[in-house]
């Protein structure tokens, strides 16, 4: 059975390591915060200017001056810090953030990513995505394996305007976990009940399959 958004988030959360600062993009990535493994401490950065982001506020306690990059009202953890946008991207560009998780429209087997623009359609802008993907050492893409038309989003080459080149390290989809390697997408894990064949069929880019591919372990 393919994963839902929460399943993808849960699997990505297994990649977290103690002591990491993490930037979570809008959508599925945001859900990762709900699945931090026991015994692990991580801190969330939101690029509009907070480190140590907490959960949503209790009803009636929202503060218009305290939001995340998705413009959602949030809270701050003890030890949090607020800062300006230049300092925020100094953290990102200067590689002080250990992990970036973001969504994508397309990922290519060389690590290219497209997630900001569909020509001819409305252009909303790249926000902080280009800075994030150009800077982070460790970028995980969280997305569905195929688009609404059933077409693969894991491609030989991105067809949409790029957000960054050769930057994605890992992709976690509703079907699989894949590393980006010089040989293409390397299949690491299958979603529970998903066959290698199904993943093959849903992947347009070069796919490397070596040995037995284990199933993801989710609690």
């Amino acid at each position: 059975m393919s994963l839902d958004k929460n399943g993808i988030a849960q699997r990505i959360a297994q990649e977290l390591r103690d002591g990491w600062y993490v930037n979570l993009g809008i959508g599925i990535p945001t859900l990762v915060a709900n699945y931090i493994p026991q015994g692990i401490e991580v801190e969330f950065q939101s690029e509009n200017g907070i480190l140590g982001m907490g959960p949503f506020p209790f009803e009636g306690e929202e503060d218009a001056d305290l939001i995340n990059a998705g413009k959602q009202t949030i809270t701050a953890m003890p030890g949090a810090v607020y800062f300006d946008s230049a300092t925020s991207f100094a953290m990102i560009r200067g590689q002080h953030v250990q992990l970036t998780v973001l969504g994508a429209m397309e990922v290519a087997d060389n690590g290219d990513i497209a997630n900001w623009k569909i020509p001819g359609s409305m252009v909303k802008g790249m926000g902080g995505a280009m800075d994030l993907v150009a800077s982070a050492d460790n970028i995980i893409v969280a997305m569905m394996h195929t688009n609404k038309k059933g077409e693969s989003k894991l491609l030989k080459n991105c067809t949409l305007p790029l957000t960054g080149v050769g930057c994605v390290k890992k992709v976690v989809t509703n079907l699989a976990v894949l590393d980006i390697t010089p040989e293409g997408f390397k299949l690491i894990e299958r979603a529970p009940g998903i066959s290698v064949e199904e993943i093959k069929n849903a992947t347009e880019g070069r796919l490397v399959i070596e040995g037995e591919i284990p199933e993801m372990k989710l609690n």
């Binding site: 690029e47 949503f56 413009k71 990102i92 902080g128 080149v165």
Partner: protein, 232 residues
């Protein structure tokens, strides 16, 4: 060095059609509401607005879009606004999209006398078109230039008569860099206090960057995405 002006009318004197303005804020958080309302009232046109976002249809910079007062937007993300979309697709509105970190750094550079710098953001994308590329530490970087404005309009939590500013929580965002980059910088504040009342150790924007300061009449502080947990 008293920078206080008595109201928003006085604060925005000299803003004219065709000028380039920087406006602080991220989404609707930390935007200079009172000044935007005054710009609507003044009816200045053909503005180039440098602002991370473009407001929503009926608030923030959306109000200037409604009145077709903006000729060009320089932003990183503009997708919360139907009127914006209409004007952009019809070609009425020029839009220059810039990675958010580059936008912040370009404003800071403008204020800091750094005319250009290299950044990895945008390499290999549309953003890099026509820009110089140079490799540092084995990674390609593009050359980005400083941004400045005729007027920078920022919003702070507290300010003193010398123009020293303090922002609250994530309402800080682009305000400090834009305050640095305005030929004339206008600050609207929720609380205006005498010089000496703010702790000199904890000021976000030193008054040297601010030419005019006033207490905003009212702050709606609209929330774009109200997300909450139920109380048990």
């Amino acid at each position: 060095m008293n920078k206080v002006v008595s109201n928003v009318e006085e604060a925005l004197q000299g803003v004219e059609s065709g000028m380039t303005l920087m406006l602080g804020g991220f989404g609707l958080c930390g935007i200079p509401e009172n000044s935007i309302a005054q710009l609507v009232k003044m009816g200045v046109k053909d503005l180039t607005c440098i602002s991370n976002n473009a407001g929503v249809d009926d608030f923030g910079l959306g109000l200037l879009l409604q009145g077709r007062q903006i000729k060009k937007m320089i932003s990183s993300y503009v997708g919360e606004n139907d009127e914006f979309e209409r004007q952009m697709l019809s070609g009425e509105l020029e839009v220059d999209l810039i990675p958010q970190g580059s936008l912040a750094e370009r404003c800071r550079a403008g204020g800091a006398g750094i005319p250009a710098f290299f950044t990895p953001a945008g390499y290999g994308t549309e953003v890099a078109e026509g820009k110089e590329v140079r490799e540092y530490n084995g990674k390609p970087h593009i050359l980005e230039s400083a941004l400045t404005a005729d007027f920078a309009i920022v919003k702070a939590w507290k300010g003193d008569t010398e123009g020293n500013l303090v922002y609250k929580a994530t309402a800080r965002n682009f305000n400090p860099m834009m305050a640095m980059a305005g030929k004339i910088t206008i600050a609207e504040v929720e609380e205006l206090v005498p010089a000496g009342e703010l702790d000199p150790n904890f000021i976000h924007t030193p008054g040297i960057f601010v030419q005019r300061i006033f207490k905003g009449e009212k702050f709606e502080k609209r929330i774009e995405q109200r997300t909450v947990r139920p109380k048990n």
